[in-house]
Amino acid sequence: MSKVLGLTGDGAVAYAVKQCNVDVVAAYPITPQTLIVEEFSEYVHNGEVHTEFVCVESEHSAMSACIGASLTGARVFTATASQGLALMHEMLYIASTLRCPIVMGVVNRTLSAPINIHCDHSDMMGSRDCGWIQVFVENAQEAYDWVIQAFRIAEDPDVLLPVAVNLDGFILSHSLEGVRVLDDEEAEKFVSTRKPVLTIDPDKPITVGAICFTDFYFETKRQHVDAMDNSPKTISKVNDEFAELTGRRYGFIDTYEMEDAEAAIICLGSTAGTAMAVAKSMRAKGKKVGVIKPWVYRPFPTEQIIKAVENLKALAVLDRACSVGAPYGPLCSDVIAALYREGIKLNLFNVIYGLGGRDIRPTDIEAIFNEALEVAKTGVIKEPLKFVGVRE
């Protein structure tokens, strides 16, 4: 029987990792990821897990140790945030192209300067091309559920890619919520143990990380792209099995009231929940608004988003990161690229919000919905890229 525990977002991640038979965790603490490392090291200290916990001196070393451990066939987890992810940057690419199925919790926090410990998505967006599968969650329950599914997705022989599960710093990481957890046995059965394909083994030597010049690098990268392109099959399969086990259904995107929506918001993470709450109250007043929340950001859910916007007249794309100098924020650029590829012309505008942890208020969201409804009605976009919540 499953039970409900009061857990913070970070606590939910640590609890999931505890239940997933993880062999090695190498991590360096950084706010607001600290609770994951603290709580997990307590599990290690209390003998509740068999995990080898490696205290490293930096995030660069953390990811390096994870790569080494993963190559031996171990199941590996780490977690970081912000500057930590930035320091890992070069190792992120190595982990993914060496096809190490590492699972990482990224507790989204902005990047300095000025120094700030609060939430935005600059950290993951700065590394979004690192070739990892990337998931964003709305609440602590989703953080727990996706970490468990992430091991299955990452380690599937058809995928063999690392997975980053992103949760909003403080807003989720330090917020206590009720989380329905699996029994240890159920979780263990679901994740099973890793069955590695190629490992480094003194008895059966192989060479990993050898230099690849102009003659083979491109081919290796092309394989990496292929693995990402193939991952949706596995992601869906794991989502299905998880739904069967828990009754909680995940997919590439979550939608709220999209069937007959005229205007919608698409955004990542916890903001999607607030947007749904606002949509609910606006629906009660007869306003046809909806929400699209991509759970999976890489591979980008082009097909699912196209389907969701079928009947839509206007879309507001919310980015909690900005790509300085680019025409739009990162999520918006992806959405536009996806629509363009399918030949769909949809009136949309981009909203940059919540940088450095600036709270996005229900009233802000309501104003964005109203603006999108106005665009739906008139077809006129006044501001293609706007900043909400910043003082003029």
Partner: protein, 233 residues
């Protein structure tokens, strides 16, 4: 959101939209399901009792712990919860704010709380530097750690339409815990002001969080604060 305030003879339901007061329905106990107008019936179809609580105190006083203990207790009572601090520079003695949301259905909203239904003031001295009633909904509740009577505090805060409860948490804490830690006393006073959770469940979570004598003493603090807290409409 609907805020239900029940007395022995009547239930008043406030209809709010993220703190914007939309209306209020008062009806005698026993006719909850037969509502006065068609319009209110539509709204009440999706009745959800989301209560938003804001905690004020100082770093090191267990404000965040109190906000979480309340959430844990509400979880035991089968509610949906959220408890989170507003993070500033977390220094001992600096004013801090914590939030708790309790609801009968899953909580989707993840913003700060701007229009709390209830404000709990854990540290009496923050009232001089922080406007603790900011954004408080009409007919909301203030529960404060104060030696003075609720009347006098209500006057001092200059709030008209709010229930005010006070309890001398400092004396209770010093008597029982021998230390100036007020968070658990304020939980007792809060439950008196609004029966958000049962005394049993809050006692249970306090015992889980602080096993042994510390827990027992804190439970005693909660019970005494519950008894001693006084309020006015």
């Amino acid at each position: 959101m609907l805020l239900v305030i029940a007395s022995e003879t009547q239930i008043s339901v406030r209809i709010q939209d993220f703190g914007h007061f939309l209306g209020k329905v008062i009806f005698p106990i026993g006719i909850e399901n037969r509502l006065i107008s068609d319009e209110s019936e539509v709204v009440l179809e999706e009745i959800r009792l989301l209560i938003e609580i804001r905690w004020h105190g100082r770093g090191g006083q267990g404000v965040v712990t109190a906000s979480r203990l309340l959430a844990h207790a509400a979880l035991l009572d089968g509610k949906y919860v959220q408890a989170f601090p507003e993070f500033g520079p977390e220094r001992r003695g600096a004013p801090v704010i914590g939030y708790t949301r309790i609801s009968d259905e899953p909580i989707m909203i993840h913003s700060h709380i701007y229009n709390p239904d209830i404000v709990v003031v854990v540290d009496p001295t923050v009232m001089s530097s922080v406007d603790v009633t900011e954004g408080l909904v009409e007919d909301g509740i203030v529960v404060a750690n104060a030696e003075e009577s609720p009347d006098s505090l209500k006057d001092r805060l200059g709030i008209e339409r709010a229930k005010v409860y006070t309890v001398d948490a400092k004396r209770i804490a010093l008597d029982i815990l021998k230390r100036p830690i007020y968070n658990t006393a304020m939980l007792g006073a809060l439950i008196k002001a609004s029966p958000l959770v049962t005394l049993e469940s809050i006692s249970k979570v306090v015992m889980e969080r602080f096993p042994g004598t510390i827990g027992e003493k804190n439970v005693a603090v909660i019970k005494r604060a519950y008894e001693e807290a006084k309020g006015i409409e």
